[in-house]
């Protein structure tokens, strides 16, 4: 079974589509995650999808719905407890630990195999069903619309909170809104591709993109591009080498791109900046 045989099968197309949606949304929110110093929040949220799923499984027998409701609770918790930047890291750590403990407790009440909940931690890219794809698509479109709607004020507030506040940008509302968007992206994606892939697609591409350029637009575009290369490229690689799990390739590519960006990024960025300065001098 080679790459092209596999690509004709629906499971591979489902996986490709899921990867694309997750990469675009994660690549899109990634630069904000980094600017706002929220990598740990992404980690916390994606792991807490497990607790939400366990609660959903116990209460309604529905893990995805539970995970999405849980995401909202986690976003609000992080928003209120981690209000100040100096508190954020520690409060997320506390929420994460407490939440995971709660998840274990909930699962012990649930008699039966809890793979629907634990599966969130690992994901199964080749087991994406039609209904999961629709869920991902709805989340993806919502996230894109939401980010486009709040892009300018969010960007301003993320670059310089105090100046933004002085100019009347409602930082508090924006912060909560971004947390909610983040929570939905992360939990929605975690259910399909697993926590590990969400982490590597929401953080690494944007972190690498920032090493290549200073222009916000270029960073956003590069971040999405790198996420796409990692997700779709990783998937295609696993179709070509079908005995190796796709997660390995996806995380491997995004890590590799990040390392490359650390090595050659500064040179590229310097040249850009020099060109920019030259332009300003000429003008």
């Amino acid at each position: 079974m080679g790459l092209f045989n596999n690509l004709q099968l629906p499971f591979a197309q489902h996986a490709l589509l899921a990867c694309t949606i997750v990469a675009v949304t994660c690549g899109l929110i990634g630069p904000f995650v980094i600017m706002r110093g929220m990598s740990f929040a992404v980690h916390g949220m994606s792991e807490l999808a497990f607790t939400g799923a366990a609660a959903g499984l116990l209460v309604a027998g529905n893990a995805p719905a539970g995970a999405l409701c849980g995401a909202l609770v986690v976003a609000l918790l992080i928003g209120t407890l981690g209000d100040r930047e100096s508190d954020r890291d520690s409060s997320i750590g506390v929420i994460l630990a407490g939440g995971l403990g709660l998840g274990v407790l909930l699962l012990s009440f649930y008699h039966g195999f809890a793979t629907a909940a634990t599966n969130i931690l690992f994901g199964d890219l080749f087991g994406v069903s039609n209904s999961q794809l629709i869920l991902l698509l709805v989340i993806g479109i919502t996230v894109i619309i939401a980010i486009v709607a709040i892009y300018r004020p969010l960007f301003f507030a993320s670059v310089d909170t105090e100046v933004a506040a002085a100019r009347g940008v409602p930082e508090r509302i924006l912060s909560i809104a971004f947390l909610v968007v983040l929570a939905f992206t992360v939990t929605g994606a975690a259910q399909v591709v697993g926590t590990l892939l969400v982490l590597s697609l929401a953080i690494a591409p944007a972190a690498a993109a920032r090493r290549f350029s200073s222009s916000p637009l270029a960073i956003a575009g590069l971040s999405i591009l790198i996420a796409l290369v990692a997700a779709d490229g990783g998937l295609i690689a696993s179709l070509q080498f079908p005995s190796i799990k796709p997660t390995v390739f996806v995380t491997g590519i995004s890590f590799f791109v990040y390392i490359v960006s650390r090595i050659i990024g500064p040179a590229i960025k310097n040249r850009q900046n020099r060109a920019l300065q030259l332009e300003e001098v000429v003008n």
Binding site: T115, N130, I144, F155, V163
Partner: protein, 318 residues
């Protein structure tokens, strides 16, 4: 953060950003639409390998072995959980597994949540092979059934029968061969049943303990009484640590020699089960290691179960 204020205020992004977002949105919708149409167009059959063999995928290697025995010479059977160290609970599919399920004519799965990944692979495959669910064949239900159905030897012929029926439906021209193979398979389970009946005759009601409920059905059929705390086995099965009450109850069973034998899962060794095992060895309680899946490639299901039941008989005193 690195850019000057003037660049921020004059940020040109959002004007270009909207079209970019719209384009990516359009691409996603297009991809989605194309995937949905290709779903409908995908052939449900396939399933016959080029060499005329019926393609069967089993979730675990013990069911895969039963399939290849009944379909000998006429099927190509693939088992997804084949490595002895693989834990079906923590499973992520490879493209190989997904492709195998997508092109199979028959899929054999255990059910009862033991191999949920098969349901995911089936739903992403877009195809509709014949599905043999062992849980359905055995009519196991309830809130938390013991999913280790392959340890209920007396009911395994039912599963073999269901597999034979599926093979007959998929490949009617070799029906006679399948039927005759089913007969020999059922007969080959007889020695195992004899050992089980022997244990029952000699040691009925003897108290035993296990670290996981893997051999639960077997112990029940052999008339042995499992006295270890259920919470202990459940915690190990779920990948958690047993609570202190269960752990000390287990210790007490061993140190006061209230059990005749300790069974532990050789494939799911954790610090907790290892401690219990060495405690049993220290106090002279016989220890029998059993495995969750077929331990050696090429070994048959019957031989595996025969060896294990004999080991149990021997540990009890022969």
């Amino acid at each position: 953060m690195y850019m000057s204020k003037s660049r921020v205020r004059g940020f040109p992004g959002s004007r270009v950003f909207l079209p970019f977002a719209l384009v990516s949105l359009a691409v996603i919708v297009l991809l989605f639409a194309s995937s949905c149409t290709s779903d409908r167009g995908s052939p449900g059959a396939g399933g016959s390998a080029r060499n005329g063999l019926v393609k069967v995928v089993a979730a675990e290697n013990f069911w895969g072995d039963v399939v290849s025995q009944i379909g000998a010479g006429h099927v190509s059977a693939k088992s997804i959980i084949a490595s002895p160290s693989a834990d079906p609970h923590l499973y992520e599919s490879t493209a190989n597994d997904a492709a195998a399920v997508s092109t199979a004519k028959i899929v054999v799965l255990n059910g009862a949540g033991y191999d949920d990944f098969m349901n995911r692979l089936l739903s992403s495959s877009g195809t509709h092979p014949i599905v043999v669910s062992v849980q359905k064949v055995m009519r196991a239900g309830g809130a938390n059934p013991n999913p280790h159905f392959w340890y209920e030897i007396s009911k395994v012929p039912d599963v073999a029968g269901a597999i034979e029926t599926a093979l007959e439906n998929a490949d009617p021209k070799n029906a006679a061969a399948y039927r005759s193979n089913l007969g020999s398979f059922d007969a080959s389970l007889q020695p195992v049943m004899e050992v089980i009946n022997l244990i029952k005759a000699r040691y009925k009601g003897a108290p035993v303990a296990y670290t996981e409920r893997v051999p639960g059905y077997l112990l029940n059929e052999a008339g042995l009484r499992v006295v270890s705390p259920p919470g202990f086995a459940q915690a190990i099965e779920d990948g958690n640590d047993p609570g202190p009450a269960d752990a000390s109850a287990m210790n007490d069973l061993i140190t006061s020699r209230k059990i005749r034998m300790l069974l532990y899962n050789r494939q799911a060794v954790s610090p907790v089960t290892q401690r219990v095992r060495s405690l049993a060895l220290k106090y002279g309680v016989p220890v029998v290691g059993i495995t969750e899946t077929l331990p050696r490639p090429g070994e048959h299901y019957q031989q595996w179960q025969l060896d294990q039941t004999r080991a149990i008989l021997k540990a009890l005193g022969g």
